[in-house]
C-alpha cells in the first residue's frame, strides 16, 4: 500500500516558527512532526511513502534523506491547496492509498483501522471544531463536510487522514480536497467516517506545547550524556550524547534533552520540557512545560515556562517568562490564547527581560529590562 504525506504548506498560523521550516518539520519532543507520521506508517507495514514538499523544500528533503527508509519526494511548486498537492503525486500512485497531513500527529492504531477500507476518513471530536472541516455522519458514513464554518453543526471534525481509491482524482476540480470528497459523496460513493484514537494538530504556535506534552508522555528514558552525581533525575528523562549536566540540577520527567547541551549547575527542569541539541542552560535557571529548539541559550537566574523558543535564540540572564492570557491577532483574526512566550528563530533578548503571553518574531533584538505583556512583535524588529 502507498501513502502520501502532504508537507508542502508553510502553516502560516504557526508563525514565527515557520521561517526556516514548514509546520511539518517543527520539532516536538525533539523530532519533527512528520517523523511521527512516517513512524506510524512504517509500524503499519507501509513503506512506499511519497512526501509532497514545497515551502522550504530543501530543509524537508534533507531531513527525509537522513531517515533510514527511502522516501519518494514530489515537489509542489506553488502551494495552491491540498487537492493540488495530491495531484502533484498522481503519476506515482497506482491504486488505493492513504493520504495524511505531515503536520498532525496520528497514532499507529488509528491508521490500522482505516488502511484496509477503500474510501474512509479518520474523524475526531474537537472542542473548537470551527478551525477544521466539520463532518456530519449518517450511520457511520460521511454525509457532509463543511470547511471551517462559523457556526459548527457538530463537534466531529475531519483529521485530514483519508484512505482513498484512485478514483478520487476524477473528482478533483478545484484546489481543495474537501470539495473533491464532497463531490465523491454526492456522486453516491460512500465514505466511512472512522473515529481516530489519538490525533493532535497544533493550529497555533502555543498548541505545540500541548502536542509536546502528549508526545513526551510516551518517552522512553535513556542516558547517553554525562550527568553529575549530584544531579537528581526523576521520571522519564532522555539525555542525548555529549550533553553535560552540572551538579545540583533537578530534572523531573518527562523531559527530553538533545545532544551536546550544557545544563547547569543548579538548574531546575520541570516536566513536559523538550530541549534540542547544543542548547545552553546557565546556572540557577528554571524551565518547565516548554520547548527549546537547537542552538539556543537561556541565561542564568532565568525562569522560562509555557514557552516555545526557536533555533539560535539567546535569552540573557534574569529572563522571566510566565503564563498569561490575552487576545492574539493571527491571520487577521483575534484568538484567545494562554501561554508564556512564543519566540522565533535568532532572537536576541537582553538581561532582565519579562515576557507574558507574547509572540516575538524572528531575528528580533530586545534590549534589556523590557517588559512584554500580550504583545505580538513582527520579524526583524528592535525593541528599545
Amino acid at each position: 500500500m502507498q501513502a502520501v504525506i502532504l508537507a508542502a504548506g508553510e502553516g502560516k498560523r504557526v508563525r514565527p516558527l515557520t521561517r526556516s521550516r514548514p509546520k511539518a518539520m517543527i520539532p516536538v519532543a525533539n523530532r519533527p512532526i512528520i517523523e511521527y507520521v512516517i513512524d506510524a506508517l512504517v509500524k503499519n507495514g507501509i513503506r512506499d511513502i511519497i512526501v509532497v514538499v514545497g515551502y522550504r523544500k530543501e530543509q524537508v528533503t534533507r531531513f527525509l534523506n537522513q531517515l533510514e527508509i527511502p522516501i519518494d519526494v514530489v515537489v509542489q511548486n506553488k502551494q495552491l491547496g491540498t487537492a493540488h498537492a495530491l495531484q502533484c503525486a498522481e503519476s506515482k500512485i497506482h491504486g488505493d492509498f492513504l493520504l495524511l497531513p505531515g503536520d498532525n500527529y496520528i497514532d499507529p492504531h488509528s491508521i490500522a483501522r482505516i488502511k484496509d477500507i477503500p474510501n474512509a476518513m479518520l474523524v475526531k471530536e474537537h472542542p473548537n471544531p470551527s478551525n477544521f472541516g466539520v463532518v456530519l455522519l449518517n450511520e457511520g458514513f460521511v454525509s457532509h463536510i463543511v470547511e471551517k464554518p462559523e457556526h459548527a453543526p457538530s463537534f466531529m471534525v475531519s483529521t485530514g487522514i483519508y484512505s482513498l481509491t484512485h478514483n478520487v482524482f476524477q473528482y478533483i476540480k478545484g484546489n481543495d480536497l474537501t470539495d473533491a470528497i464532497s463531490a465523491m459523496i454526492e456522486d453516491g460513493r460512500q465514505v466511512l467516517g472512522i473515529p481516530a484514537d489519538d490525533w493532535q494538530d497544533a493550529i497555533f504556535a502555543w498548541d505545540l506545547l500541548k502536542m509536546n506534552r502528549r508526545l513526551l508522555s510516551t518517552l522512553t528514558p535513556a542516558r547517553e550524556g554525562m550527568a553529575s552525581r549530584q544531579t537528581i533525575i526523576q521520571g522519564a528523562v532522555r539525555i542525548g550524547k555529549g550533553t553535560t549536566i552540572g551538579p545540583n540540577t533537578v530534572i523531573t520527567g518527562p523531559v527530553v534533552i538533545g545532544n551536546d547541551c550544557t545544563i547547569g549547575p543548579n538548574c531546575c527542569i520541570q516536566p513536559n520540557t523538550s530541549i534540542g541539541s547544543r542548547v545552553a542552560l546557565e546556572p540557577f535557571s528554571f524551565i518547565g512545560n516548554s520547548l527549546i529548539m537547537d542552538d539556543s541559550s537561556v541565561g542564568s537566574h532565568s525562569r522560562v515556562t509555557d514557552t516555545v523558543v526557536g533555533e539560535r535564540c539567546n535569552l540573557a540572564d534574569h529572563t522571566s517568562i510566565t503564563m498569561g492570557t490575552g487576545l492574539m491577532e493571527i491571520e487577521d483574526t483575534a484568538i484567545l490564547s494562554e501561554f508564556g512566550a512564543i519566540i522565533g528563530d535568532s532572537v536576541q533578548s537582553g538581561p532582565f527581560t519579562r515576557y507574558r503571553n507574547s509572540l516575538v518574531g524572528n531575528n528580533t533584538i530586545i534590549e534589556g529590562c523590557r517588559s512584554l505583556t500580550t504583545r505580538c512583535i513582527p520579524d526583524d524588529s528592535m525593541v528599545i
Binding site: S20, G45, D48, E58, T61, L64, N65, I71, V73, E311
Partner: protein
C-alpha cells in the same frame, strides 16, 4: 556507511554483484570485495573504487554471492580490511554494514579460544562467531540466529558458507532490502542495485533473519517464521540516491552545516601541536583546484592570526621551486588520490619536511604517504563541483588556526553551522537573473575574501560554463578594467572589517565603468546596498564565518545559474571528480 549486495539465482552472480556495488558507491567507495560460491568460496577484494578495477571480481564463478563497498570506520581501507571477511578455515564469508560496538570484547574472547584474526575490522568477529556455532549446529541459519544476540550495535549482514547454497541475511538498525525476481533473489542495503532486475521487494524489520536459497525465501524473527509484505517499487535509480534533491550538488550544499560542524569537532589537537611543535619557520601548502583556494584562505588566516609565514603553491608547480628545507608541508586533497598533490608530498618528504595531509577519504594514498593526516568528515561527495568537501577543508584549516591561537575562535567555529543554515534560507533569484545572460562574470574580493572570489568564479565556470574570473579587487584596475562593460556583472564581496573602506571605493570605480554590481555584504549595511545594483545581506559574524557564508552564497549562485541555463550540474563537460594524472 557502507553498501552490501547479495544474489542467489540462475545467472552468474559476480557481474550482477559488481554492477550492484557500482550503484551503491554513493554509500562509500574506499574499498570493495565480492565472494561467490563457485569452487569453494571464491574471493576478491581491493582497495579503491569498484568502478575503477572491477575486472578481477567479474571473473569469479558461481550463482550465489555477496559483495560490499566500504566507507571505512574501523581499520584503514586496504585489501585486508575490505569485506567480505572469512573465518579461520575459509568456510564462511561475511559482509556487514554498520558498527559492532562490543567487537573489542568479542575479539579478545575469540582470540583466547584460538581464532586468528586477519583484519582490524569489527566485522571479522562475526565470521569467527558463526564458525564456532556452525561446527556445532551444521546449519548456517541456526548458527547465525545463535550469534546475533551476542552482537551489540547496528548491522545488516549477509553470510554464506561453502557447505550450503544459500545466503543468510540479518538486520538490526541498518537498512536491508530483499528483492524478489524471477527465480532469483537479491539482498541489498537499498533498492538501487535491485531496481534493474525487479520491482518487487521486501523490507526486513528490526531483528529479522532471512534464509535465502534458490527460489525460496523464509524470514524469521526471534526464531519464529514471519511473513513480510511484498512491496512494488517504481522509483528511478537516480532519485533514490539523490534523496529527493534535483542534483547531488544541491544535496551536498545543504549538507554543509553538518559537514562543517562534524569536521570542526573531529580535528585532533595533538596532530596540530605536533605539526607546529617548536614554532616552525614557515608552512608550505600544496593543493590543486578548489583545494588550492581553501589553502589560500588558510594562508590569510594563518599569517593574519598566528604570525606564521605561509607559502602556497599549486601542487603541479611545487617541483619547479627550490623545496623548503625541514619546513612543514601540508597537502590538501578531497579524494586523497590527486596525482599532483601526491607527487608534491613525496618530494617534500625526500627533503626532510614534516608532511600533513588533509583529505576526506580515510586510508587514501595520501594518508599513507604523509607523516600525519587529518580527515574531514564530509562523507562521500558525488558532485564533480566540490562544495561540502571544500567547507570541510575550511573547517579543518580554521580549526588548525584556532588551535594554534589558543582557541580564541572556538565559539565562532562551533556556531558557524548556524550561520550557514541562515544563508541556505536566502533567496538569490535576482542575482541569478543578472548572471544568466552574461558572457563573462567577475568575482572580486580582498584579504581572505579574495580566495572566496576565486572559488566562486571556479564554481561558476565549472558548472554554468559562463566565463568567470576571480580577482583581488585592487588588481582589477591594473588591466582587467578594460573588459568591464554593462554586459559584465561583477560580484563583489564587501564585508565589514579592514577591507571594507577600500572595497567600497573599488565598487564605485567599477560602477563608474557601467558594470552591474552584485555585492555580498553584512545585512543592514545601507552604505553598500545603496551603491550597487543588487545586494545580498548575510548575518553579521566573525571573519571566519563570513568567509564561509559568502562562499555558500556563491555556491548557490553558481548552482541556480547553471540550473537556469539547463546545464548538467553534477557531471559538467570535460571534468572528472578526482584527477589522478599529472
Amino acid at each position: 556507511m557502507c553498501g552490501i549486495v547479495g544474489y542467489v539465482g540462475r545467472k552468474e552472480a559476480a557481474p550482477i554483484i559488481v554492477e550492484g556495488l557500482k550503484k551503491l558507491e554513493y554509500r562509500g567507495y574506499d574499498s570493495f570485495g565480492v565472494a561467490t560460491l563457485g569452487n569453494g568460496i571464491e574471493l576478491v577484494k581491493h582497495r579503491g573504487r569498484i568502478s575503477d578495477n572491477a575486472g578481477s571480481a567479474m571473473k569469479l564463478t558461481g550463482k550465489t554471492g555477496i559483495g560490499h563497498t566500504r566507507w571505512a570506520t574501523h581499520g584503514a581501507p586496504n585489501d585486508i580490511n575490505a569485506h567480505p571477511h572469512l573465518d579461520c578455515s575459509g568456510t564462511i564469508a561475511v559482509v556487514h554494514n554498520g558498527i559492532i560496538e562490543n567487537y573489542a570484547a568479542l575479539k579478545r574472547q575469540l582470540v583466547s579460544r584460538g581464532h586468528t584474526f586477519r583484519s582490524e575490522t569489527d566485522t571479522e568477529v562475526i565470521a569467527h562467531l558463526v564458525e564456532e556455532h556452525y561446527t556445532r549446529t551444521k546449519s548456517l541459519l541456526v548458527a547465525v540466529q545463535d550469534i546475533l544476540p551476542l552482537l551489540e550495535g547496528s548491522y545488516a549482514l549477509l553470510v554464506i558458507s561453502k557447505k550450503e547454497d544459500c545466503i543468510i541475511a540479518a538486520r538490526n538498525a541498518s537498512p536491508l532490502v530483499i528483492g524478489i525476481g524471477d527465480g532469483e533473489l537479491f539482498a541489498a542495503s537499498d533498492m538501487t542495485p535491485i531496481l534493474e532486475h525487479t520491482e518487487r521487494a521486501i523490507f526486513l524489520e528490526e531483528g529479522d533473519v532471512a534464509f535465502i536459497t534458490r527460489g525460496k525465501l523464509e524470514i524469521f524473527n526471534q526464531g519464529q517464521p514471519v511473513t513480510r509484505p511484498v512491496e512494488l517499487i517504481d522509483w528511478s535509480l537516480e532519485d533514490v540516491k539523490k534523496g529527493g534533491f534535483a542534483h547531488y550538488m544541491l544535496k551536498e550544499i545543504y549538507e554543509q552545516p553538518q559537514a562543517f560542524y562534524n569536521t570542526v569537532r573531529a580535528v585532533n589537537p595533538d596532530t596540530v601541536s605536533s605539526l607546529i611543535d617548536c614554532h616552525p619557520a614557515s608552512i608550505t601548502i600544496v593543493a590543486c583546484g578548489s583545494s588550492y583556494h581553501a589553502g589560500m584562505i588558510f594562508k590569510y588566516l594563518l599569517e593574519g592570526s598566528c604570525g606564521i609565514p605561509a607559502r602556497l603553491e599549486f601542487a603541479s608547480e611545487f617541483r619547479y621551486f627550490p623545496p623548503p628545507v625541514e619546513g612543514r608541508v601540508i597537502g590538501i586533497t578531497q579524494s586523497g588520490e590527486t596525482a599532483d598533490t601526491l607527487t608534491a608530498i613525496r618530494q617534500a618528504k625526500t627533503h626532510n619536511c614534516k608532511t600533513l595531509a588533509i583529505t576526506n577519504v580515510l586510508g587514501s594514498t595520501i594518508s599513507r604517504v604523509a607523516d600525519m593526516t587529518i580527515f574531514m568528515r564530509a562523507g562521500p561527495e558525488m558532485s564533480v563541483a566540490a562544495t561540502k568537501s571544500f567547507t570541510a577543508q575550511l573547517a579543518v584549516m580554521m580549526q588548525i588556526v584556532n588551535l594554534i591561537c589558543d582557541k580564541k575562535d572556538d565559539e565562532s567555529l562551533l556556531k558557524a553551522h548556524q550561520a550557514i543554515e541562515e544563508v541556505l534560507l536566502m533567496d538569490i533569484s535576482d542575482a541569478v537573473a543578472l548572471c544568466i545572460n552574461a558572457q563573462s562574470v567577475f568575482f572580486v574580493g580582498r584579504g581572505p575574501f579574495y580566495p572566496v572570489a576565486l572559488e566562486g568564479a571556479l564554481k561558476m565556470k565549472e558548472i554554468s560554463y559562463i566565463h568567470a574570473e576571480g580577482y583581488a579587487a585592487g588588481e582589477l584596475k591594473h588591466g582587467p578594467f578594460a573588459l568591464l562593460s554593462t554586459e559584465t556583472p561583477v560580484i563583489a564581496i564587501c564585508m565589514p572589517g579592514e577591507t571594507y573602506g577600500v572595497m567600497i571605493s573599488n565598487i564605485k570605480e567599477m560602477k563608474a565603468r557601467g558594470a552591474p554590481v552584485i555585492a555580498i555584504g553584512c545585512e543592514n549595511d545601507s552604505e553598500v546596498s545603496e551603491i550597487v545594483d543588487h545586494f545580498i545581506g548575510i548575518p553579521p559574524v566573525s571573519v571566519f564565518v563570513q568567509v564561509l557564508t559568502s562562499l555558500v552564497v556563491l555556491q548557490l549562485l553558481a548552482y541556480h545559474t547553471a540550473v537556469a541555463l539547463n546545464r548538467d550540474v553534477d557531471k559538467p563537460r570535460n571534468l572528472a571528480k578526482s584527477v589522478t594524472v599529472e
